[in-house]
Structure formats: C-alpha cells, structure tokens
C-alpha cells in the first residue's frame, strides 16, 4: 500500500546498519585504531570558528585530532561532549586537540549558547555540506573521527561510542612520535 517513495528510508536504514557494522569491524576488533596501512588521509577543510577565524584541519598537522561532528539537538552528542572536554584538558600539552564541527543549520545563534552551557573548552567550527560530504555524508550524529599525527583517519565512531574506545584510541595515537604530516590539500570548504 505504501508508495515506492518509502524505499528511500529503507535504503537509508540499510546503509546506516551496514555503515555501523563496517565502522565497528574496522575499529573495535582488538585495536582501538586502524592499522597504519589501512588509514586514509583526512580531508582538509576551511571553516570558521566562534571568533570568525578561519580554521583549516591542516593547521593541526603533527597533532592527534579528535574531530567531532555534532549538533545542539543531538542527545547522544551531549553525552560525549563532557568526555571530549576532559580529553582536551588532559592531553592538550601532549599534541592533542579536539575540534568540534557543528552541523546546526541555525549556526552560531544556537551553537554559542550551547557551548557556553556545556562549558566547552575546545575549538568549534560551523560545518557545511561540503565538509560533511568529504567525510562520507555525516548523516548520523555524533560522528567522530580520530586523526593521527600524519593527518590520517585512524578510527571512526558513528553514533554514541564508549568513552574507553576514545581513550584507548587517543592514547595509542599519542604514543606515536610526530612526523611530517599527511593531511590532504584543501579543495575549498567555505
């Protein structure tokens, strides 16, 4: 009785399930991060932070980065953000940064009060479709990418993940000495 237009949600659900399965199998096995040979370069982007300053992912060359796509209306995101604050505080002097990417359509008007409420202590930028597409669409939030010092994606967590998975991944990546950097060139993200 339902029209063919319903096929879209069904496909979305299937893709979401397959995507989660793929992420899980790639990250959660024995190691908290992918083997180096399996890591792909993290797409660079150019976005603005709350002060209007331009932020490129490539600015973080040589650092371990936790890149968190979130939104103010996302409950699971609000669970993870306090963890990320703590990771930032504990590891910022070890070559680690959290970078939040808000996917709110309403921009800073809603994001600034949200960040203030939660006492966010790390940098946040407003995302766009171009950046989301570069990271696979980022339809499900939170979507979090752990990026190694060479600018490669070492772990992907789609949806609410465990705090320990993040901690283990960060520690593993921080144990690696800083090399030359490998973030792919910016293709224009404004």
């Amino acid at each position: 009785m339902l029209s063919p237009r319903l096929s879209a949600p069904l496909v979305s659900a299937l893709l979401a399930v397959l995507g989660l399965a793929a992420c899980s199998s790639g990250v959660r096995a024995a190691e908290p991060v992918k083997a180096e040979k399996d890591r792909k370069p993290a797409p660079d982007f150019t976005l603005k932070d709350a002060d209007g300053k331009t932020v490129h992912l490539s600015d973080y060359k040589g650092k371990v980065v936790l890149l968190d796509f979130f939104a103010t209306w996302c409950g699971p995101c609000k669970i993870e953000i306090p963890w990320f604050k703590e990771f930032e505080r504990q590891n910022k002097d070890r070559g680690f940064s959290v970078l939040g990417v808000s996917m709110d359509d309403d921009g800073w008007e809603v994001v600034k009060p949200f960040l203030k409420d939660l006492g966010v202590n790390y940098r946040v930028v407003i995302g766009n479709d171009f950046t989301a597409q570069a990271y696979g669409g980022v339809d499900a939030l939170p979507s979090t990418f752990l990026i190694d010092r060479e600018g490669r994606i070492a772990a992907v967590h789609v949806g609410l993940a465990s705090r320990k998975d993040f901690e283990d991944g960060i520690q593993k990546l921080l144990e690696t000495a800083a090399p030359g950097g490998g973030i792919v060139p910016d293709n224009g993200g404004d």
Partner: protein
C-alpha cells in the same frame, strides 16, 4: 465529522512516512477533522510535539495553504515515554504507527469543487545511539466542497 483515512499515497523522507488522507467531502460552514496517519521506521523514534527536553526539535505540522478550509489546528496523539542510553530521563517520543488529527472549518461561502490543504511536517529522528538532521515532508489534505 471525522474521516478515517485509507492509505492512498505515502510521503516519506528518511525515518518517517506520512500517508495522505483520501479526498474529504465537506459541506459549507461545517467543521471537519482529518486523520493523518504516520509511521516511524522500526528502530527509530521521533520527538513528540512536546519533547521532554528544551533542546530537542518537536514534531510540528504547519499549514502553508488551506484553500476553502480555515483553522487546521492539529491534535497530536499521546506520546510514549522511552528511556534511551543517551538520556537521564525518559523522552517524549513517537514510535511505530500513530495518527494526528487536523481540525478544519469550511468557509460558509466556499465555492463548490475540489481543493487541497497543504502543509509541512517537520520532525527529527534518532535511533538509540545516533540522531539525524531534522527533515520536512509535505502533507496534503484533498477535499471536495459539496
């Protein structure tokens, strides 16, 4: 008058499908209640029209054109309270099948013939571990003034 709907055409967009009601036969000056059935995909929920938390985006129908019909206030069903891993307290949500009812008044001097009320339904869905951007789908209520 309250009309039971048949599934003629389902408008889906992501995690929620809304079935357009069949053409409603209305009389000038009369009131009419139209049921609008909806289905949330298995494994997902959408926030009710009165979410438990301020930051959550509510379900809402906004009529953009109603023709010979006036009003359009929507009665939403009683939501269920569900606890998820990412919340401390239960959330006010809809899951599975549910029905909204739109209340219209037909203009006393409406011209006889067909018309259509058109609205936008905005919702935001989550699973137990992730949330998805708010979406808007079109709702159509065809009517025939007798």
């Amino acid at each position: 008058m309250c009309l039971t709907t048949g599934a003629i055409n389902a408008q889906g967009s992501g995690y929620l499908a809304v079935t357009d009601p069949p053409t409603v036969a209305v009389k000038r000056g009369a009131s009419v209640d139209v049921k609008i059935p909806a289905t949330v995909m298995t494994g997902y929920h959408i926030n009710s029209n009165t979410p438990s938390e301020e930051y959550l985006i509510p379900l809402k129908i906004t009529w953009t054109a109603t023709g010979a019909l006036a009003g359009g206030a929507v009665t939403y069903p009683k939501p269920s309270l569900e606890k998820y891993e990412f919340t401390e307290k239960p959330l006010s949500v809809y899951t599975g099948n549910f029905e909204m009812v739109a209340h219209f008044q037909v203009a006393p001097r409406a011209t006889a013939g067909p018309g259509e009320a058109v609205g936008k339904l905005r919702y935001q869905a989550c699973s137990s571990r992730a949330c998805y951007p708010p979406k808007t789908i079109e709702v159509r209520v065809p009517y025939q003034v007798q």
